[in-house]
């Protein structure tokens, strides 16, 4: 049974290359274009990992993480931030919100998949 990963990014090209990378490793991928869209995709199905951008329109990634951590069904779902942001202050904000990992774009497929393997729920 393939594991499901929700990817949230306002850049369509990043969503495409991210989905391609994850699908090549056998994961199911659900995508969303911003934080609001990401929350709307959490409909009760088991999500094994969430990978989200930080700077997005409508709802940013940090706010979305906080809202996800308030959802009983998904509060233990690991979240990895994938962003151009590299500042330590932003990373601390991500950690405070509940994110488990932080990857600065551009990501390398092999490195990303290695991190995903460590983070994804059994």
């Amino acid at each position: 049974m393939a594991k499901t990963i929700l990817i949230v990014d306002d850049s369509s090209s990043v969503r495409i290359v991210l989905a391609t990378t994850l699908k090549s490793a056998g994961y199911n991928v659900i995508d969303a274009v911003d934080g609001e869209d990401g929350l709307s995709k959490l409909t009760g199905e088991k999500i094994h990992l969430i990978i989200s951008d930080v700077n997005m329109p409508k709802m940013d990634g940090i706010t979305m993480v906080k809202k996800i951590k308030a959802l009983p069904k998904y509060k233990f779902t690991p979240i990895c931030m994938l962003t151009t942001e590299s500042e330590e202050s932003k990373m601390k904000a991500g950690k405070m919100a509940g994110a488990k990992a932080w990857i600065v774009k551009p990501f390398q497929p092999a490195v990303l998949l290695s991190a995903v393997e460590k983070l994804v729920l059994p």
């Binding site: 850049s11 369509s12 090209s13 990043v14 290359v17 930080v54 590299s86 774009k105 990501f107 991190a115």
Partner: protein
């Protein structure tokens, strides 16, 4: 619309762009280095002249030059005043154009890179499927044809056929030898039958003599005569059996001879068949070995291509992410244009002679999302010290 003439130094890239934008907006633009002279070109980035001073379209060349020289002197004496007054109209005109062009660039970049990303993703997926299929097929062929301990491989099967043929020939040869050994035995039987015939002949003579002697003995020899008669009958019967045995023995010998001749002919054919089969199998196995080697070489080549292709896809995936970074940078530039314009308008409205740009820079800094933006700002501000940030591509577990 054209109630001002704007003097711009078009000797630099920015000046050229500004002049083009102003001309698009309906302003009359004069190249600073041309009418005023090189001595002021370095100092004048942009000079807005009131129309009453510079409206010199109908003036003579000398008057036009004098007017511009006068304006230039005024600018040199108090350049900030002129620049500030003209800057508002310039920015109101140029910034929205730049902002729209930047947003158009973001949209074009996004559309095109998304299309390229989609195409690369599709190609990567299709190539991956094809490569996996090829790998499975080649691996299956190699597995089927390589040596197996249970003899189920091609070479084993061929060798089994050759061994079976060889074994059949050997078995037939042994059988032929056994048949040949029957010849002397039947000769012995014939000799024994001849002996029996000889004995039978002598017995018949003996019985005849006994019959004669019994007749000579008269009444007393009657019983003996009966015995002699029976002995004679037995001797005749023995002779008949011996004759039959000789006939059968000769028949058997003849059949053995025919069998031997047929077997010899068959053996020759079989030997040729085995030899031909061995040659053919050797050829087939050589072709098989060559095919196997070619398959293994192909498999190695495909594995090499697969590795190269995966590396290329990986590099493409990294490269395609530039759109996200560039898009964010351009978006921030566009937003900064809008906010800069608001600050300028506010300063003009409040009749502020000096614009405090620091808050604008601070606000711009808070919008930055990439290291490149922060580094550019630091470089502009002459600040080389930057915070230690995470490196692109690396994973930080929080």
């Amino acid at each position: 619309m054209s109630n001002h003439i704007i003097l711009v130094d078009e000797g630099c890239c920015i000046g050229t762009a500004v002049a083009a934008a102003l001309r698009d907006a309906g302003f009359e633009v004069i190249n600073a280095s041309s009418p005023i002279g090189n001595e002021s070109a370095g100092a004048v980035a942009m000079l807005l002249l009131p129309v009453d001073i510079a409206n010199s379209r109908g003036a003579t060349g000398r008057e036009r030059y004098d007017n511009l020289q006068k304006a230039d002197d005024e600018f040199q004496n108090n350049p900030r005043d002129h620049t500030t007054v003209g800057l508002n109209e310039l920015c109101e005109t140029a910034f929205p154009i730049w902002s729209r062009q930047i947003n158009s660039s973001i949209q074009i970049l996004d559309d095109e890179i998304t299309g390229i990303s989609q195409a690369i993703a599709s190609m990567a997926e299709e190539i991956s499927i094809a490569m996996n299929l090829c790998n499975v097929v080649v691996a299956e062929i190699v597995e089927r044809t390589e040596d197996r301990s249970d003899g189920s491989d091609v070479r084993g099967k061929m060798e089994a056929v050759a061994n079976a043929l060889k074994s059949t020939v050997e078995t037939r040869s042994t059988l032929l030898e056994d048949v040949k050994s029957l010849g002397p035995l039947t000769c012995g039987l014939e000799s024994m039958a001849n002996d029996v015939m000889e004995i039978s002949t002598q017995t018949k003579l003996l019985a005849l003599n006994a019959t004669i002697e019994a007749a000579r003995a008269g009444e007393a020899g009657k019983g003996f005569g009966v015995v002699a008669s029976e002995v004679r009958a037995l001797a005749m019967r023995s002779a008949e059996i011996a004759e039959a045995m000789v006939a059968s023995s000769e028949d058997i010998q003849e059949k053995i001879h025919h069998t031997q001749m047929s077997a010899d002919e068959t053996a020759e054919v079989e030997v040729k068949v085995v030899e031909t089969s061995n040659r053919n199998m050797t050829t087939i196995l050589a072709v098989h070995d060559t095919t196997m080697n070619n398959l293994l070489v192909s498999l190695e080549t495909m594995q090499g291509i697969d590795t190269t292709y995966k590396q290329s896809v990986s590099e493409a995936i990294i490269a395609l992410q530039f759109q996200d970074r560039v898009g964010q940078i351009l978006h921030n530039v566009s937003t900064s244009c809008d906010s800069g314009l608001e600050i300028l308008a506010e300063s003009i409205e409040n009749n502020t002679r000096e614009i405090d740009y620091e808050p604008w820079l601070v606000e711009m800094n808070t919008r930055f999302t990439t290291d490149e933006e922060r580094q550019n700002l630091r470089a502009f501000m002459g600040d080389d010290e930057g915070s230690k940030n995470a490196v692109a591509g690396e994973v930080s577990f929080l």
